[in-house]
């Protein structure tokens, strides 16, 4: 035997680390046949189509120049979007999307890569695959290729779509590559995180934190330096995306930065993956307590234990967003005040009592819509339905726990959590805005009340989600579409000039624009009643239907 091995040339015994990559890639594409097109189309089309709305609002070069000048002059707006490098329509699209679009592309890559690496190992599916003719580096390679393909499609769609809408070809290509490049880089960074952590959730959290940090560093850099070229923006991949300057004298060499960083991160991931065992990680899991604390003694204790981190994260996010919005509110009003059309738009969308109030109302409305993602999405769809389909609900319900108590425990966190995160957002918004106008005492109350006025609308959507969960449990993923539909109506409806009946489909359309507008109790009571009705019917369904 040894003689035979020695006689063979070295090539024949070389391990085939990439064997099976093609099969795994096809598997990944098959599994992502809805996920990737949905992300690419939604993100690509909104970037490519955004030019039209700029053309509609700022139809002369002078107006666009005015917008660019005032945006570049305003530190808080630079923090949010970055500087405007060109006042052409394309330049404005790039200004608005080079940062935000890059963040979204990074989120897409993060989801794809974790899904096909750490999540596969965590669920034990990878074990079965790796026991077949699958090389050690094949799973990582297939995941990275899947993300690369998605980002390439995104770049092509943005470039092609922008050219078709009449934008210059070079800038369109640069914008597509800026987003696709950031996405690809974050795919490689996610691959590193997936080697370090033991759970898919942690891997997502870790990459998400890096992404948040990258955005914050870029925002700090842009806020600090007027015009262009703060050194801090070069420390962040999101900064690279805007520094590529699509439609404003493209700096093509920045693509080499993306390429080098991606290669570096991917190499690190490959080195790490070669040094660890399947399913193992570099950040080891800590042991837990041998006995359960008092608090973990019923369905509510369990729901709280499972969801407290999520709620904490959302509360932190809302505090941060509220502080950011509050910090730029004064400046934002100064800014739109200079442009007649924008002022009209903000007035139409926002409130009647002045631009700052309109801006604050728009921001509380935004917080309200995002809160629905927490209540209906994170709690109901992911947790409650996830417990049921993941067979973790079964042993709980085999205890002396009624179905209403089980579902109610999770829903209490959805309904109560909505109030908590909106209060956090309103508090931060009111305080920072109040401090910026030297009137924290006078501003905090109305702004907090405005944020909390969103609660009935969020609860209505949550009630609708309970209804779906109770009567059509298999359709529970459609909850995302319900929430997404209301968000789209709120954001795009006014500029698309949709008829009133269509706008009225969204519970948010029935809320008065606070602060500023006159509030009557009627719409709140109607929404609360509707929410209670939906939830009651849904819970009646939960009591009657088969579980599992």
């Amino acid at each position: 035997m040894t003689a035979v091995t020695a006689a063979l040339p070295a090539r024949a015994t070389r391990p085939r680390h990439l064997a099976g990559t093609g099969a795994l890639l096809r598997l990944a594409l098959r599994r992502d046949r809805l996920l990737i097109p949905a992300w690419v189309l939604a993100l690509g089309l909104s970037v490519a189509g955004m030019g039209a709305s700029f053309e509609a609002v700022y139809d002369t070069a002078a107006q666009r120049a005015g917008l660019a000048a005032s945006m570049n002059h305003n530190g808080s707006m630079r923090a949010l979007y970055g500087p405007v490098f060109s006042d052409s329509v394309g330049g404005l699209v790039a200004w608005r999307m080079a940062g935000f679009g890059a963040v979204l592309a990074a989120v897409m890559s993060l989801l794809i890569v974790v899904r096909h690496t750490r999540e596969e190992e965590e669920t034990g599916r990878q074990e079965l695959l790796s026991a077949a003719m699958v090389g050690r580096r094949a799973p990582l390679t297939a995941a990275l290729l899947t993300a690369l393909l998605a980002n390439a499609l995104l770049a092509a769609l943005i470039a092609g779509g922008s050219v078709l809408s009449g934008r210059p070809a070079a800038g369109s290509l640069a914008l597509g590559l800026a987003l696709g490049g950031t996405g690809t880089l974050f795919a490689a960074l996610t691959a590193v995180a997936a080697q370090l952590t033991e759970s898919a959730r942690l891997a997502k959290g870790l990459t998400g934190s890096v992404l948040g940090l990258a955005f914050a560093v870029r925002a700090a850099g842009d806020a600090a330096t007027a015009g262009s070229g703060s050194p801090l923006t070069w420390a962040s991949p999101i900064g690279w995306s805007e520094n590529l300057r699509p439609y404003a004298g493209e700096r093509w060499w920045i693509l080499l930065l993306f390429l080098a960083a991606t290669a570096l991160a991917a190499s690190a991931a490959y080195v790490l993956t070669a040094r660890r065992d399947l399913g193992m990680s570099f950040l080891p899991a800590r042991p837990g307590p041998a006995v359960a604390p008092r608090s973990l003694s019923g369905p509510f204790g369990l729901a709280w234990r499972l969801q407290r981190t999520t709620l904490l994260g959302w509360t932190g996010g809302f505090l941060g967003a509220g502080a950011l919005f509050g910090g730029i509110a004064k400046g934002a009003a100064d800014l739109v005040g200079g442009n007649r059309q924008t002022r009209e738009i903000v007035e139409r969308m926002g409130g009647q009592q002045g631009l700052t109030e309109a801006f604050l109302a728009t921001m509380t409305g935004l917080l309200g819509m995002v809160a629905a993602l927490y209540a209906a999405g994170a709690v109901l769809r992911l947790r409650l339905r996830g417990e049921e389909t993941g067979e973790r609900a079964e042993p709980v319900l085999a205890g002396a726990v009624g179905r209403l108590r089980w579902a109610g425990s999770h829903l209490a966190l959805a309904y109560g959590g909505t109030v908590v995160i909106l209060a956090a957002g309103g508090l931060a918004l009111g305080l920072t805005y109040g401090l910026s106008v030297d009137d924290p005492g006078g501003q905090l109350g109305p702004v907090l009340a405005a944020a909390l006025s969103q609660v009935p609308a969020v609860w209505t959507l949550t009630g609708l989600a309970v209804l779906v969960f109770g009567l059509l449990p298999k359709a529970t993923p459609a909850v995302w579409a319900l929430v997404g539909g209301c968000l789209a109506l709120g954001w795009l409806g006014p500029s698309l000039k949709l008829p009133a009946w269509a706008m009225n489909l969204s519970p948010y359309s029935h809320l008065p624009k606070l602060p500023g507008a006159d509030a009557t109790a009627a719409p709140f009571l109607w929404l609360l009643a509707l929410s209670a009705l939906f939830a009651a019917v849904g819970l009646a369904g939960v009591r009657r239907r088969d579980l599992g």
């Binding site: 965590e122 033991e198 759970s199 899991a285 800590r286 042991p287 837990g288 307590p289 041998a290 006995v291 359960a292 604390p293 973990l296 003694s297 019923g298 369905p299 204790g301 369990l302 234990r305 499972l306 993941g390 067979e391 973790r392 079964e394 042993p395 709980v396 319900l397 085999a398 205890g399 002396a400 726990v401 009624g402 179905r403 009657r544 239907r545 088969d546 579980l547 599992g548």
Partner: protein, 317 residues
């Protein structure tokens, strides 16, 4: 039938029906489990065992028929009943960020409390580390988490429903499991045990029910079930066999002369309730040696499981 049946049964199921779309998972299933017995619940994969158990737990609602658990309705009185029931599924899924010890306590508290001393003893016997997080347990260790919670449950628990509880356990742990079930019976608890491990069923169960295609095909003590099947007999006779072939209940008779003597070797299978006549007949020929093998549990089940396969074949054709 037996004395056990005269007391109020712990589980009484009559003509249970349950469909999922066009699939008839349960098609008139009957089940009687006497209080205080360990009852084996057997059947091939897809026969409807887990569906039955989930109806008994009130997770699924039956389309027809009646089910009574400890004298109550499993759907209407679910919460009240579950205080008196401990359940172990065949595939235990844990929350990844809760430790095993936390989950054991949680399950216990959801029922009516845990016996702390028994919990500690069981952790020792099952060699389970309660500080590990849910995601790091192997399949067998996840089963142990649910088993410890069930066996350590407070005295209010009268009925244990175990759905293939030992999948993934090693033979040593299988032995611990069997001694635990025996202890539970001694404490007066009723156990409904669904299992494919026939040695486990043979060692533990007072009575068994075999189901197939959502219907009960056989129910009784192992002795009674054996009675319904055939015994294999091999005998060396000093003379030629007398009229064995004409006896009722004799199957697969073969007889050949032994070289160098007058004797014959006879092999046959006989319906167990006709064994007596066969032995008399053999006696008239002079018995030199006799081996009589009762049907093994495997043969018993294979007969039913294979019938099932044949029935499927017939339908397909």
């Amino acid at each position: 039938m037996t004395t056990a049946m005269t007391s109020a049964p712990a589980i009484r199921v009559d003509g249970l029906h349950k469909s999922f779309g066009r699939t008839h998972a349960l098609d008139g299933l009957d089940l009687r489990v006497a209080a205080g017995e360990v009852h084996g619940f057997l059947g091939p994969n897809g026969a409807g065992k887990s569906t039955t158990l989930r109806v008994l737990l009130g997770l699924l609602r039956a389309d027809g028929g009646t089910a009574r658990l400890l004298g109550k309705d499993p759907w209407q009185d679910a919460v009240e009943l579950h205080r008196r029931i401990a359940y172990v599924p065949g595939d235990v899924t844990l929350w990844r960020n809760l430790s095993g010890g936390e989950v054991i306590d949680l399950y216990g508290r959801l029922r009516g409390g845990l016996d702390a001393a028994r919990r500690a003893e069981l952790l020792e016997r099952f060699e389970l580390d309660p500080t590990k997080k849910g995601r790091t347990y192997s399949k067998g260790n996840r089963q142990k988490v649910a088993l410890v919670a069930a066996f350590a449950s407070a005295p209010e628990v009268e009925l244990l429903i175990l759905d293939e509880p030992t999948s993934g356990l090693d033979p040593l742990m299988e032995e611990v499991f069997q001694s635990c079930v025996a202890e539970e019976r001694d404490r007066g608890r009723t156990v409904l045990l669904s299992s494919h491990v026939l040695s486990e069923v043979e060692a533990l169960c007072d009575r068994v029910s075999i189901i197939r295609k959502g219907r009960t095909v056989e129910s009784g003590s192992l002795g009674e079930l054996r009675h319904l099947t055939r015994t294999s007999v091999t005998a060396e006779l000093t003379g030629p066999p007398n009229g064995l072939a004409t006896l009722p209940g004799v199957h697969g008779l073969s007889s050949r002369p032994l070289p160098g003597s007058q004797g014959h070797r006879v092999r046959l299978q006989v319906d167990t309730d006709k064994l007596d006549a066969v032995l008399r007949s053999l006696g008239t020929s002079g018995v030199r040696s006799l081996i009589s093998t009762p049907p093994t549990l495997e043969e018993l089940f294979l007969r039913h499981y294979q019938d099932d396969a044949h029935a499927d074949g017939a339908v397909a054709r």
